[in-house]
Assembly symmetry: C2
């Protein structure tokens, strides 16, 4: 769903996207936010049910200035979101851990990470074309190239699947990089200090038992 | 904080820990829940602020039937949690992704994962011994062996740090394993199908620039 209007380079900070701490780690830069969102595909979606917070992991995909999540039409947040109004107040958070930051002091231990927090109201997608494109985007977010190399959803499957749309408007990134920040008086302590890099890696693909031997591993999977 | 009373082998399911979908993936087994919590150290903590959900990534550690999170005394959830009552209604969720499940149909694409969702009320830890032990546990959760090989927090640092305690009572795990579940009529389709394993891996530790050459890499880091 590309937007015909020019988009600003940064999202507008709001009361709830300005962190109470470590403000120097916050970014509202559109390209920074998008880059983090595009590298990950699992988010934690928070909403309120019966007055209490609920946080569930789920897949998401970004398309332009929107993110989409999907689920069974019977699943909790999808039902709560109504169709399509009044929508569901959500907080969608994405986190990548890049390193363990080991300071000389326990207090200054930290993580290097990149996170995005999106506040807003999620709405059910009712337009068939938007729904179909967002479902493709959800497959592509996990394995680029896969949407065109699998059987598309049929009418029954589309009817059983609900998609929620959340606008990227009240959104911020938070990033920590670099070495530990030890106190000057700790620099001579005899403890190892530095960063242990953390990465997500993919192992050798395991074919299903019922896969015909004639079907080879596609290049887009081998390249992961 | 070991509990002197015998603990049951499973947590009691409640209205909000029984999933609306895929109930066969849910587990209330105490050892299953603990094993997932002990393998990870980043959670997503959900709470309500000004009537809206907020989800923030943060470190956690399990000690017995409790989990702890910490933060600056000025940080949002820590302030909201009060001292120590009335506490803060939270949902603390932990997710590990183990594999990408590529079915022949887009609809049956999935993830292999293990997650734990804890509902409850978080309270500030005020007992100095519990606070100190929970902070050690938070360091140990990330790098086992590190709490004893770094400078412990001093009085000023302890005063600047708040710790929240959440009881493991209303808690469940959810697990998906195994191959894709394709429809019988799709088995002859010419698409590769199987699972791509996903793992978290640690790279070569990067010493801080100001680390004295005489301080070698400890075995507990090299073994990660």
């Amino acid at each position: 769903m590309p937007d015909a209007q020019p988009t600003p380079d940064a999202y507008e900070p709001t009361g709830r996207t300005v962190p109470t701490r470590s403000r120097e780690r916050a970014s509202y830069d559109r390209s920074v936010v998008h880059a983090i969102l595009d590298e990950e595909y699992v988010c934690h979606l928070g909403f309120i049910r019966d007055g209490a917070p609920v946080v569930l992991p789920t897949l998401y995909a970004r398309v332009g200035d929107r993110v989409y999540v999907h689920g069974s039409t019977g699943s909790r947040p999808l039902r709560l979101a109504g169709e399509p109004d009044p929508g569901l107040a959500v907080c969608l958070t994405v986190t990548r851990v890049d390193g363990l930051v080991l300071a000389r002091s326990a207090f200054h231990h930290s993580l290097n990470y990149r996170s995005v927090v999106i506040h807003g109201t999620a709405h059910q997608v009712t337009d068939p074309r938007e729904k179909s494109e967002s479902l493709d985007a959800l497959v592509e977010a996990v394995v680029p190239g896969r949407a065109g190399d699998s059987r598309p959803a049929n009418a029954r499957e589309l009817a059983a699947t609900a998609v929620l749309r959340l606008e990227l408007a009240e959104v911020s990134a938070k990033i920590r990089t670099g070495p530990p920040n030890d106190e000057p008086e700790d620099l001579e302590l005899p403890y190892w200090t530095g960063v242990v890099p953390v990465a997500r890696t993919y192992g050798t693909p395991v074919p299903a038992d019922d896969l015909a031997p004639s079907v080879g591993l596609p290049g887009y999977i081998a390249a992961m």
